[in-house]
């Protein structure tokens, strides 16, 4: 099965961004699907042909060794239509969450004689076919794979009814055991009031005191006195559920005396799998009734996926996902804990209500571009807009030089707004935990009394820049041995060169004098040492310097760099794209992997580390991530990864990387 999983994964990988047109044979994607993604097969194929991909060892190996029943010498033998679009979507209802892959087919017979055969299905089997937690449907135009998992919350609230309705196999559930269902069993309905009573009774049972588990044993302790004499002390030790009964500390670390046995009001793993099989197969039956529908996607949100021209795109309904998380948490026994987590998630879910994420990937010739837009509403939108209402001051640019930097990280948030919302969030949490709204409100007011948001915002307005420059060399001393002619060792001291990454952190402040006083206080505690230019951290494996100048706190480990800044000699100079990324965004992260690898070659000229560096060289280039507010409801994050020289485009680069890791793993 591993081989077919690998094959499916590889095929999904090929199609992982797909489209929303109504294609022959595909069922309609449900309106309430919370995750929909499309892969444009035609677009991917234009980046790297099937023939080229098949030539990679990772695929060759799969054909030669990975399959046990089917014969494949080419990806085309799978019968899948790689030039069309494929979909993945997830849909949740109360009882079960389903994940569905939809692959377009070019040749059904080939598909049956390869993929289905490898999965143990002979040609006589008719769709839909359910085997354990996977249901497969196929027709001339498409293959649909559905897997599902039951929602724990639903199960725990309906466990008695479920056990009455279904007869579960008592044996361990094995892949080979199931050969499909003759008739789908309908999902049960439940009465909410009856279930509430059932839950209350359950909660009462759980609140009963846990019976102590006791064990006694004799422990012999050996005590040695100052003269080397041993004394044996025997004592009887009584263990309870709170003390360790394990000699092996590692086992003890794994032991959790507070772990709750959910088996009492829950199904076993095997039973859940069997239940998932029933419900997911019924869901699939309903789904395939929509095959032949004129439209594939029917909601405005899903239609974004259709409208996108990207190589791959996805829509994610964050709000529904949080509902799922909340109900799962509640189902896992959190309700008996006084509803603490349910309240917490209620409040968190409130912040994610109506939230969604839309993402697109383009594998261009020179870069891979990954865009994500996060949309939010109501209170969350207000919070987001206010917290991100900040831009990085241009004062930072005076201390940054693109040609020296391996990477940088910059961030700018509105400290005052963030602290205002902090009190609110803490209030919600505490109110939930204590189940006392008043307690929450009082907490918020007390926090506001203690924290002066405006003053803190003056101390640190909310911007931070960290730069990483070229690795710097330094000499360190170490002890080793010299041997005379008769091999008698003598301790000697030698020096060796070590590479140290140079970093500089900068934080703007409007209260320079307060920051300086804080550092002086730290020097009284001997945490830092005052120097002629500022301060130095006391001790540590390498020197770290601190300096306050021009409304900025500098922390760095390159004294020359700090001296240049102090004396106004620092040569600033940012490239236009760096400058734009830093000044126009709330967050910017840049990293030049190539530059780092070249520097690391100096540190590790030979040995196995050198081999690893050699492997990485030429396979990584620069990366830039930026994030900012788009408008009052939306924020975005964009990641741009440069395609190294020698690669035709981003897709080709990814496939070659995938193959390289495979080869490394296989020891090629």
């Amino acid at each position: 099965m591993r081989s077919i999983s690998t094959l499916l994964f590889a095929l999904s990988f090929l199609f992982s961004v797909s489209v929303a047109f109504a294609q022959n044979g595909l069922p309609q994607i449900p309106e309430d699907a919370f995750f929909v993604s499309r892969i444009s097969g035609a677009s991917i194929q234009s980046k790297m042909s099937i023939a080229e991909m098949e030539g990679l060892p990772v695929f060759k190996s799969m054909f030669e060794k990975g399959l046990t029943k089917a014969q494949m010498s080419s990806l085309a033998d799978s019968g899948i239509d790689y030039s069309a679009d494929a979909y993945v979507f997830a849909q949740k209802n109360d009882s079960i969450t389903n994940l569905c892959w939809m692959l377009p087919l070019a040749d059904l017979e080939k598909f049956k004689s390869t993929i289905l055969l490898e999965m143990g299905m002979d040609a006589a089997i008719e769709p839909p076919y359910t085997k354990n937690e996977l249901t497969i449907y196929w027709n001339e135009g498409a293959a649909v794979f559905v897997t599902g998992w039951v929602n724990d919350s639903y199960v725990s609230m309906n466990v008695d009814r479920i056990k009455e309705t279904y007869e579960f196999d008592v044996e361990e559930y094995e892949w080979e055991d199931s050969y499909g269902l003759e008739e789908a069993v309908p999902m049960p309905e439940y009465d909410i009031e009856e279930e509430t009573d059932r839950s209350e009774a359950y909660r009462e049972e759980l609140n009963e005191e846990i019976e102590a588990i006791e064990d006694t044993y004799e422990e012999i302790e050996v005590i040695e006195d100052d003269y080397g004499n041993w004394e044996i002390v025997e004592e009887e030790v009584v263990e309870d559920e709170y003390s360790s009964g394990y000699e092996d500390a590692e086992a003890y670390e794994e032991y959790d005396p507070y772990a709750y046995d959910y088996g009492y009001n829950d199904l076993s793993w095997s039973e859940k799998k069997q239940l998932a099989q029933v419900w997911q197969s019924q869901w699939t039956n309903d789904l395939i009734e929509t095959v032949g529908s004129p439209v594939l996607l029917s909601t405005a949100s899903h239609m974004q996926v259709a409208a996108s021209s990207a190589d791959a795109c996805a829509y994610f309904d964050y709000s529904t996902y949080m509902d799922l998380m909340m109900s799962e948490v509640m189902g896992q026994g959190m309700m008996p804990m006084g509803g603490m987590y349910s309240s917490l998630f209620n409040n968190m879910a409130g912040l994610t209500e109506g939230a969604s994420l839309f993402s697109e990937i383009e594998f261009e010739e020179e870069e891979i571009v990954w865009d994500m837009v996060y949309t939010t509403r109501g209170k969350a939108a207000e919070m987001q807009a206010n917290m991100l209402d900040a831009k990085l001051s241009k004062a930072y640019l005076k201390y940054m030089n693109s040609s020296d930097m391996i990477g940088f990280y910059t961030t700018a948030i509105n400290t005052e707004a963030t602290l205002d919302y902090y009190a609110e969030i803490v209030s919600s949490y505490l109110g939930g935990v204590s189940m006392n709204e008043l307690a929450g409100e009082v907490s918020a007011d007390l926090i506001s009394l203690v924290i002066d948001e405006e003053a803190i915002a003056e101390l640190f307005p909310g911007s931070l820049v960290i730069t990483f420059s070229d690795l710097s060399k330094r000499m360190i001393e170490y002890t080793t041995y010299d041997y005379d002619e008769n091999w008698n060792p003598t301790e000697i001291t030698r020096e060796k060169e070590e590479i140290l990454p140079t970093f500089l952190a900068m934080m703007q402040t409007e209260r320079s004098e307060l920051v300086t006083k804080m550092l002086k206080l730290a020097s009284m505690q001997e945490e830092v040492v005052e120097t002629d230019f500022g301060f130095q951290v006391n001790g540590g494996p390498f020197p770290v310097y601190l300096m306050v100048k021009g409304g900025m706190l500098f922390v760095g480990n390159d004294l020359n760099q700090l001296n240049d800044i102090r004396q106004g000699r620092f040569k600033a100079g940012l490239s236009s794209d760096h400058k734009k990324a830093i000044t126009k965004n709330n967050l910017a992260f840049f990293f030049d992997a190539n530059e780092l690898i070249e520097d690391m070659e100096l540190e590790f000229p030979n040995g196995e580390m050198a081999d690893m560096i050699g492997f990485a060289k030429g396979k990584a280039d620069r990366m830039m991530i930026t994030s900012a507010l788009l408008d009052e409801n939306r924020s975005f994050m964009k990641a741009v990864i440069d395609v190294p020289e020698g690669e035709a485009n981003g897709w080709s680069y990814m496939m070659h990387m995938f193959n390289s890791f495979f080869e490394m793993e296989q020891g090629y």
């Binding site: 422990e219 050996v222 040695e224 000699e247 091999w487 494996p541 390498f542 196995e608 690893m612």
Partner: protein
């Protein structure tokens, strides 16, 4: 004969854990070299390093084993682990609470088990003058003792293995031997570590880059022959040095084994 009035469980309670911890600690400290290797310190790897404490296997670090043999078969033994070259990186690690899920031991965590190790060694018959050196500034640790006969060293290794609950059967019982009648000293090099080394993750194996193992043998009498081609004899013919890269040892390209004949 070693007298153990306690049950195995007691010994286990007393030493297994702490001894494992010290090995693990030193092992972990030695092994951390680059940012974030993910390594699993399993018992076999601990055994490797545990063995290195006694049989001198142990960027990065040096292990020196010195055996001085007198005419009557008694002598002295010294084992040194020098991680001074990685001092700056170790300083960084020691400032952390944990790394890769493992708690970083503090100096006190390391001192006590070392003391217990010394105490245990003192109990072994034929072993005397046990001492240690702990230099936490330069990360140099040393163990030395006198032995009445060479078998006492083997008993020392056996007891330490027992204390650490090392149940491996592929480790020889005899690491050192001396036949007074034929004046033949043998240092056993028959350790199958290549397979275990091969199971280590690549990121962990790099730790051994640059590490060296040096074995020095000295005698009152002149050496007449020795079997290990990599060994070098001193001009006075009373000392022999064998120096190897630990990586070569791990790959079993070289061996620490040596048969030495004395005059």
């Amino acid at each position: 004969m070693l007298d153990f009035p306690h049950s195995d469980r007691d010994l286990s309670n007393l030493f297994c854990h702490r001894y494992k911890n010290i090995i693990k600690s030193v092992y972990d400290l030695c092994l951390y070299r680059v940012c974030k290797p993910s390594f699993a310190v399993d018992m076999k790897l601990r055994s490797i390093l545990y063995l290195s404490l006694l049989v001198s296997l142990t960027s990065c670090f040096e292990i020196i084993e010195e055996v001085e043999l007198k005419d009557d078969g008694s002598g002295s033994y010294e084992y040194t682990l020098n991680v001074s070259q990685s001092r700056t990186k170790l300083d960084q690690i020691m400032r952390l609470d944990s790394i890769n899920g493992y708690k970083v031991p503090q100096k006190t965590d390391l001192k006590k088990p070392l003391e217990e190790l010394i105490a245990k060694s003192k109990e072994i018959s034929g072993i005397s003058n046990v001492s240690k050196v702990e230099d936490f500034e330069n990360y140099i640790f040393s163990f030395s003792c006198d032995f009445k006969d060479i078998d006492a060293l083997n008993r020392l290794v056996a007891e330490l293995r027992r204390a650490s609950n090392d149940k491996r059967t592929d480790i020889p019982e005899v690491h050192f031997s001396y036949d007074a009648s034929s004046k033949r000293y043998v240092r056993n090099g028959d350790y199958t570590i290549k397979a275990d080394f091969g199971k280590m993750k690549e990121a962990d194996r790099v730790i051994f880059d640059g590490a060296t193992f040096t074995s020095i043998f000295r005698s009152d009498n002149e050496l007449t022959s020795f079997s290990n081609d990599n060994a070098r004899i001193s001009p006075n013919k009373k000392a022999l040095m064998l120096r190897m890269d630990v990586l070569d040892l791990m790959h079993e390209k070289v061996s620490m084994g040596n048969t030495i004949h004395l005059q």
